[in-house]
């Protein structure tokens, strides 16, 4: 295995994590990761150095955007994220953040997750999303405002205790 393949392989767990948070669905996430890997392998000749990990994030981000567009064209399928279970118990906090993420515009969710979950720098996120750093920052800011509004309004009983 070449170092290119090693780098790809090393990134798979993180890609799964990113995909899981992006889609809030394990199976969909793994489909995206698989597509990402297939595409990366096929495009090996197009990769001229740089950070393999960022490149993989870019592919996955684009595939997810395509996926959302195709979902939008199919009104018969309702999104799965409204699969409401009673909000209580230790999982409730996790579901809150999950719903809050679901409410975000895709670009904002992507920017936020790449920064806080995947630890990318603003510059790397700007490259992944193909936009200036200022745009990344405004996406982050809007995402954070939206999540805060949602969490504050939705679940006053579970406001942070600390």
């Amino acid at each position: 295995m070449s170092s290119f393949h090693h780098d790809i392989e090393a990134a798979i767990p993180a890609l799964r994590r990113y995909g899981r948070a992006l889609t809030r669905d394990a199976e969909t996430a793994d489909d995206l990761v698989q597509d990402t890997l297939v595409r990366a392998l096929r495009s090996e000749h197009l990769f001229h150095g740089g950070d393999v990990r960022s490149w993989l994030y870019t592919i996955l981000t684009n595939l997810n955007r395509n996926r959302l567009r195709s979902l939008a064209r199919r009104p018969m399928l309702t999104p799965i994220e409204d699969n409401d279970a009673p909000s209580a118990g230790p999982e409730a906090g996790g579901r809150d953040i999950e719903r809050a993420l679901a409410l975000l515009v895709d670009e904002q969710r992507t920017a936020l997750l790449l920064v806080v979950l995947e630890g990318l720098t603003y510059r790397e996120v700007a490259e992944v999303q193909g936009v200036p750093i200022g745009t990344v920052m405004s996406r982050l800011a809007r995402a954070r405002v939206q999540i805060k509004t949602y969490l504050d309004g939705e679940r006053p009983a579970l406001r942070r205790i600390k």
Binding site: M1, H5, I8, E9, I12, P13, A14, R16, R17, R20, A21, D30, D31, V33, Q34, D35, L37, V38, L41, R42, S70, R73, R74, M76, L77, G93, G94, D96, I97, E98, A100, L101, L112, L113, V115, V116, L117, T121, Y122, M137, L140, A141, R144, I147, K148, L151, R160
Partner: protein
């Protein structure tokens, strides 16, 4: 100067939370936060959000990677797809375990379920053949098209090679069906005419070919091995039946497709 050092913008607060603040601004921001409780609360909320996100999804990274995401397997399967394509021109899909299409006189299925099923298929056909840029969801060239649809529909799918009719497989998509996910494969002919093959689970009795015609479209459907199939296209009963027969033959008998031209075309697409 003191002003510039002590006044902190919202952007800077984000930069601070995300650990990208230059060291020489850190003290200024911290001082600012100590004197601006509203901003301090916002920063705390953003940090808590990040913490929740990491708590919710962070553990994914420790899960063992499922088989279909192991890189060496994907590399192997890419190679074998190429080989199979080269050898047998497998643009085509076959439902595993389809029994013979001998049951031409088998009892008719419950008409309502089958009628719903064929209506779905024809509606999907009408809806998607009109799409110029997005007739399909996953292109025929994508290695995962068939594995993905197979997994979702619940049986091993292949897509018949209809090169003998001048029809090229564009790709496929997943749709909601009457009794589960449905696969739709789209083909395009030389003059832009489009045919689709629709497949989904259907608990109904086996049938022979049935033809349904509407204003501009026709469809031939059959049911075999608890799966229903619908071939839709322009309203031309004879051609539709011929296409359906060819599809059926490949699905059922797993005969290699007749057109070597299509095989070559596929090979070159998948090659490289």
């Amino acid at each position: 100067m003191i002003d510039r050092n002590t006044s902190v913008t919202e952007d800077e607060l984000h930069v601070y939370v995300d650990g990208e603040l230059p060291a020489d601004r850190r003290q200024a921001v911290e001082t600012w936060l100590a004197n601006h409780p509203d901003d301090a609360a916002r920063v705390a909320a953003w940090r808590a959000q990040a913490e929740s996100i990491r708590a919710r999804y962070g553990a994914t990274i420790h899960e063992s990677v499922p088989d279909h995401l192991i890189l060496s397997r994907i590399m192997r399967s890419r190679r074998s797809w190429g080989t199979v394509a080269a050898a047998a021109a497998l643009v085509a899909f076959v439902i595993g375990g389809v029994a013979g299409w001998m049951a031409r006189g088998a009892s008719a299925a419950a008409p309502s379920a089958v009628a719903l099923f064929t209506t779905d298929a024809i509606e999907a056909h009408k809806l998607y053949i009109g799409e110029v840029r997005h007739p399909i969801e996953v292109k025929a060239e994508e290695d995962h098209l068939l594995p993905w649809l197979s997994r979702r529909v619940g049986t091993t799918l292949r897509a018949p090679d209809l090169g003998a009719f001048g029809l090229k497989l564009l790709g496929g998509r997943l749709l909601p069906g009457v009794s589960g996910p449905a696969a739709l494969f789209m083909y395009e002919g030389p003059s832009g005419e489009r045919f689709t093959i629709y497949c989904s689970r259907l608990d109904a009795s086996r049938t022979a070919f049935r033809y349904d015609g509407s204003d501009n479209f026709g469809a031939v459907h059959w049911i075999e091995g608890r799966y229903g199939w619908v071939v839709s296209g322009p309203k031309d009963k004879d051609k539709l039946k011929a296409v359906a027969s060819a599809a059926y033959d490949q699905l059922e008998k797993r005969t290699p497709p007749p057109s070597q031209g299509a095989a070559g075309q596929l090979m070159s697409r998948r090659g490289s």
